[in-house]
């Protein structure tokens, strides 16, 4: 009995201590993550238009959300975000995998090559975007010059005023910049694969292609999923690249959801409506993350077996 009591006491003391240690972290999360989020949700239930103070700040329930869901520009922006996300992430995964496999080979100067590959990733996005804007300039850009030299085009193409063409520099710039990051994640995954598995496969008579399909890919799955999560969530929030390259144009043909939210919130200063857009973006990103985490959780628990 006495022993039990002491044990319980120790446990609760330990628990209290644990709480005391965790509390600052919890408080910080509360302050910097949950509080702004709750405030944004609260804001989104009001009409709050900084430029029209005469409208006041009436509580309007879900009117802003109703406006979001019936707003053609919002759905357009969601579509553009999806196009960008699928387009850029697919290319980055494929190219990143190829790059990772190449980097995984042992050869002289491998360290140097690995470092060099990371250069695009290290360049600030706005600078990279400006570079790509110059490269795709209709008159002075290298893209048109090359395409005309090799005879694909006979006159300059104005990329940024074509509603489909404008996506080319945007997606290429993102692929150029983010592929090294994906490659790095996948390279880490590749190096975790036990080389004896390849030996075994070789002994069983598997060629390089079958080794890749049946050894490399399945064991690389967790790394691929991690890369997918990072890139999808990043791509979904794309802003700076498009802001610099096209400003969302022509018309609003390349306007992603983050740019539209920025526009509503900080250009037009519609805090209520902008917050509603922000909450929608948050919910979608959160859902995507949960989906991935569930998938990834399964992978991670299965991996050691």
């Amino acid at each position: 009995m006495r022993g039990d009591k002491r044990f319980v006491g120790a446990e609760s003391r330990e628990a209290r201590l644990a709480w005391a240690f965790v509390l600052p972290a919890l408080g910080t999360i509360l302050l910097i993550a949950l509080f702004p989020l709750a405030w944004t949700v609260w804001e989104s239930l009001h009409v709050h238009d900084l430029r029209m103070p005469w409208r006041g700040q009436p509580f309007v329930w879900l009117a802003n959300y109703a406006e979001v869901l019936t707003d053609g520009r919002f759905w357009g922006a969601m579509l553009h975000t999806a196009i960008f996300t699928v387009g850029s992430v697919t290319l980055e995964l494929v190219l990143g995998l190829v790059l990772a496999l190449a980097l995984n080979r042992a050869y002289r100067g491998r360290g140097l090559v690995r470092a060099a590959v990371l250069v695009p990733w290290a360049i600030p996005t706005v600078v990279a975007a400006l570079l790509w804007r110059f490269m795709f300039d209709a008159q002075a850009g290298i893209a048109n010059a090359v395409l005309m030299d090799i005879g694909i085009m006979d006159r300059p193409f104005v990329w940024f005023i074509h509603s489909a063409g404008a996506w080319v520099p945007i997606i290429l710039a993102d692929v150029w910049k983010m592929t090294p990051f994906v490659a790095l994640l996948l390279l880490a995954g590749l190096q975790n694969i036990d080389t004896s598995l390849y030996e075994a496969a070789r002994i069983d008579g598997a060629g390089p292609w079958r080794q890749f399909l049946h050894v490399t890919l399945p064991l690389l799955k967790p790394a691929i999923l991690v890369a997918l999560i990072f890139r999808t969530l990043d791509a979904f929030r794309v802003f700076d690249l498009v802001f610099v390259l096209t400003g969302g144009g022509p018309g609003t043909s390349t306007e992603p959801i983050a740019l539209y939210t920025f526009n509503a919130l900080l250009q037009n200063l519609r805090f209520g409506y902008g917050s509603a857009l922000g909450v929608v973006v948050f919910v979608v990103t959160f859902a995507l993350a949960m989906l991935y985490i569930r998938a990834l959780g399964v992978e991670l628990t299965q991996a050691p077996e």
Partner: protein, 475 residues
């Protein structure tokens, strides 16, 4: 977003400095009171008070000394202004002279970004927070109704501004609800730049301009016939406004109804589209260009015509940079069937913050800066056009401006303000998107304008600014 810390800093500084001033004042008061009471009877408590007050005062003065010449006893007027170039210098000189004339007023300049969007955003944040600082606001012509309707700036009628001495259009653009809210400081108008070494005369109609541009491309080997600002931004609306006026259309009528889907408007937009895709006088690249890109094309000799603002003139006369120095001239943008030559009105206005602690001193500054001599100086140093028509007969102005004053005056008199409404910027955004869709060949002109008009009417309706008449009759 990056401006926020700066804004907070300004706020803190303003609050701190006014607090310090108040401390200093109360310190002086209690010191005097203590000294006075000392004459009558020696009171230990008051003398302690006096010493405390003296110490506090010394402390405050010490802080003042540390803070430099940040505070003194004069009325302080804050003025946000451009931080760079000749424009900043001429303003600094003018404000120095004002302070010599008014020893009781001290002006503090606040450096603000030059980009209109950023400046607007900063102003809205300040004014929403009911900051009394800055006292004077330099407004773009399209902001006055917005700020007036929000109650952020003071009506100026009480100060007796000489409105009859200004161009009527510049005054009209600054009125809201029958009251004047800002004084026009300098005026900007859209103009047609043309090459005097390629053409003998400026074109009289848009048709003529189009033909001349095509000829210049064919025979003179000039790459582009005509360039204008076609990127999706406010500049596009000003260009459209000029074509629109040329064909006799308007964006909004006198009763505040949206009429941008009229036949004339469709003709105007179709003309612009055809200039790109049919005659190919206007390069497609122009749809990504703002003012500077068009200026580069024109000054490199690549364009026969350009639509731009007056700022480009002195820059392109510099033969070190420009290949067309002294080989170009300006004219009004020509008219077409059903309308008349039209120039978009731009420019800067001066207004007073509603929460200003020194509105009289602020008005004195505005009055000084808008005097004829000061306007002439601005014209001479930075080439900005005065807002007073009387100055256009003065020989100094002829020397100051590169454009003949009577010609400039004719263009300004043709200038039309953009719709005077507090939600102009939002309406303009809706229009910009649709115009850009039509110009980039994503939507036919009529459909684009009808969609724009519908969206603009819905917005006016939603914020309670729709014209009073039922069913939007008369469109």
């Amino acid at each position: 977003m990056a401006l926020k810390p700066r804004q907070q800093r300004l706020h803190h500084r303003a609050r701190r400095s006014s607090l310090r001033t108040r401390q200093a004042r109360s310190g002086v008061r209690s010191l005097l009171r203590a000294l006075r009471s000392r004459d009558e009877e020696v009171d230990l408590q008051t003398s302690v008070q006096a010493w405390a007050a003296a110490a506090a005062l010394a402390g405050v003065l010490g802080i003042h000394a540390c803070a430099g010449k940040d505070e003194d006893w004069r009325a302080v007027v804050t003025f946000p202004a451009s931080a760079v170039g000749a424009e900043a210098q001429v303003l600094r000189d003018q404000l120095e002279r004002f302070m010599l004339e008014h020893p009781d007023v001290r002006i503090v300049r606040r450096e603000t970004p030059d980009a209109a969007d950023q400046r607007h955003q900063l102003y809205v944040q300040w004014l929403n927070a009911r900051a009394s600082d800055p006292d004077i606001l330099q407004l773009d012509v399209i902001w006055t109704p917005e700020f007036a309707a929000a109650g952020w700036i003071l009506p100026l009628d009480g100060f007796g501004p000489p409105v009859e001495e200004y161009f009527p259009a510049t005054i009209a653009a600054n009125r809201w609800d029958g009251k004047l809210y800002a004084l026009p400081w300098f005026v900007d108008v859209g103009m047609l730049y043309w090459r005097t070494d390629v053409f003998r005369d400026a074109p009289a109609t848009l048709e003529e301009l189009s033909r001349a541009a095509a000829r210049a491309r064919d025979s003179a080997g000039i790459r582009y016939g005509m360039v204008w600002q076609g990127a999706r931004y406010e500049g596009l609306v000003t260009v459209f406004l000029e074509y629109l006026g040329a064909f006799g259309g308007r964006i909004m009528d006198d009763d505040g109804r949206i009429v941008v889907d009229s036949e004339a408007a469709v003709r105007a937009l179709r003309f612009m589209v055809d200039e790109i895709y049919e005659t190919q006088n206007v390069p497609r690249s122009t749809l990504t260009w703002q003012e500077e890109q068009t200026r580069f094309a024109f000054q490199n000799g690549q364009a026969a015509f350009m639509r731009n603002w007056p700022y480009a003139y002195p820059l392109m006369q510099d033969s070190a940079e420009s290949r067309v120095a002294s080989r170009f001239a300006v004219a009004p943008m020509p008219g077409a069937d059903g309308g008349e030559p039209t120039a978009a009105l731009g420019g800067s206005q001066l207004a007073i913050n509603t929460n200003s602690e020194n509105p009289e001193a602020a008005y004195a500054v505005i009055e000084y800066l808008t005097r004829p001599e000061q306007m002439l100086e601005r014209a001479r140093v930075v080439g900005q056009y005065p807002t007073r028509p009387a100055l256009y007969g003065r020989p100094e102005l002829a020397r100051a401006l590169s454009v003949a004053p009577d010609q400039a005056r004719r263009i300004i008199e043709r200038a039309v303000p953009r719709p005077v409404t507090p939600i102009y910027t939002q309406l303009s955004e809706l229009l910009q998107i649709r115009l850009h869709r039509a110009l980039t060949d994503q939507q036919p002109p009529r459909a684009a304008l009808e969609a724009a008009a519908e969206e603009m009417r819905a917005l006016l309706d939603k914020v309670g600014l729709a014209p009073k008449e039922p069913n939007g009759a008369g469109r």
